[in-house]
Symmetry: C2
Subunit: 347 residues, 2 copies
Amino acid sequence: MRATLLTAVGDIALTEVADPAVHFPTDAVVKVTATCICGSDLHPYRGTAPTVFPKRAGHEFVGVVTDVGSAVSTLKVGDLVVAPFAISDGTCVRCRNGITTSCQQGSFWGAPDRRGVLADGAQAERVRVPLADGTLVRVDTPLDDALLADLLALSDVMGTGHHAAVSAGVTEGSSVVVVGDGAVGLCAVLAARRLGASRIIAMSRHSSRQALAREFGATDVVAERGADGAAAILELLGGEGVDCALECAGSQESFEQALAVLRPGGRMGCVGAPFFQVPVPKLFGANIGFRGGVAPVRAYLPELLQDVLTGAIHPGRVFDLTLPLAEVAEGYRAMDERRAIKVLLRP
Amino acid sequence: MRATLLTAVGDIALTEVADPAVHFPTDAVVKVTATCICGSDLHPYRGTAPTVFPKRAGHEFVGVVTDVGSAVSTLKVGDLVVAPFAISDGTCVRCRNGITTSCQQGSFWGAPDRRGVLADGAQAERVRVPLADGTLVRVDTPLDDALLADLLALSDVMGTGHHAAVSAGVTEGSSVVVVGDGAVGLCAVLAARRLGASRIIAMSRHSSRQALAREFGATDVVAERGADGAAAILELLGGEGVDCALECAGSQESFEQALAVLRPGGRMGCVGAPFFQVPVPKLFGANIGFRGGVAPVRAYLPELLQDVLTGAIHPGRVFDLTLPLAEVAEGYRAMDERRAIKVLLRP
């Protein structure tokens, strides 16, 4: 089959690899219906994160089960499934605590699983799924293209945006600022609205992203950044900061931006891969909370899937470019150059 | 009147100063019935925090109102009152949000108030109280010595321990580790029990403090520290960390200790003056939350006072040495040398 391979910084290609097969009784094999490119895929592509090349790429997919191991009990051939961006058994204490990304048997796509066998990358035609009962979520609804995009967004960005909102304690009536206008930031806007926030300020200077932020529920959009951005937000709010800041970018600049707009006692929900330091005395003095991390998307999937299936949310709107998998390299370029918010790939 | 004055590192004395008086219409004057020495008073005493000498000392007191300004509406001469360790108006948005230590008109004892007039230190015979309606809490119960100690603990340590527990999200059934066996750490044990924690592990190697921790509700005491301490705790818990770690010391060592015993998704409640750095990738990878800060004791006072008055809690048990105010220097020595957990002073 064909799979995406990062061979060096900036060098991505679709290459012929061995077909995946059930290796352990708890495995399934899934034929990929749609996959996509993540902002975090750009780190190895750009050389901004340590990476061992060659690397199989992709960690988001929707597909159809084509084979199951003898120990798989909840899935059968032909099932439509959504895969979260991390593999988890669903039964260990950490999964039961809702932190599926810390699963005691867990691993990540495109790298060896806990038993040393490669878990395929998702930007491919087929994927071996370890711990299939724990990892995959079955969808019992006929598929169409609109639903496909919404389901695919549940693999990562919608659950990650939701994790930012949950980590920051967003609840009915909260005032919220979202820092970062990538697909995760936009989904964080949608998540904040879904959780009942009454004021949602999106920070974005790109008109297409501003428009989607408003569609997702942003009550205000602030284009300025840094001190100007903070001043604009405080003016909107009558001088006092917000209850919750959703940090969806991960840079020192974005962290400081989030911190600058929080009221004393406010909370930050951080989901952007963290390339920042925390100024502890500043947080401590103002009782600012800090929470978040690698989003346990699997734990949120049933709840969010329900809202996708009823049409209450359409997180798939973040996909503004669809390409055949064969054009994956162009997809990376479009993401890298910010020509696309998020690229959907069809094998 | 006589008041405690820090004149240099290690040099504390009771000196004659001007009698306080109502200066602003929102002021009250309180005759101090009891005051005490805080772990944080040891920072200027030891020279471990930047301090401008001479400094009026003390920020915890219980007393009787002897004068009120014309704008004070909730207090009258003769009222028994508890003062929290920070001055706050009780009406601004930050007070209404429960973060009274960030009050827009707020200030701290022993330093100029927001209008530039000294707010007396509490280790004295009398104290001018700015923003008296917002700051002071009236107690409508006859006083005896046992109640006096419990009330005085509400000035700081009980509310601060409670803040650690609240910040860490302690709730019914939580498993909790308390790092720090000073008066705040011990009150954090009591607060965790009060909030329904089912497992409370106190870290202490001093037998008198261990005993009080058990009296306050600790289910286990671990004397080891560092990696040995973490290993002992994980063994007690069957291998997985706790839900909540209450960081009541503030050093890098105590912070790392708290981090080492938390499960993925666990939360840290920090109330020790923070002399530590936060290893962000470690917190992020395991979804460890970080919250806390300068405790808004005033906001918690009514609720905790209720439990003191019914006898449900006896936080005053942390006072294991009572001295006349004239012997304040000996009180500082006893705290500094850890001969006493907390010293109560009677003017």
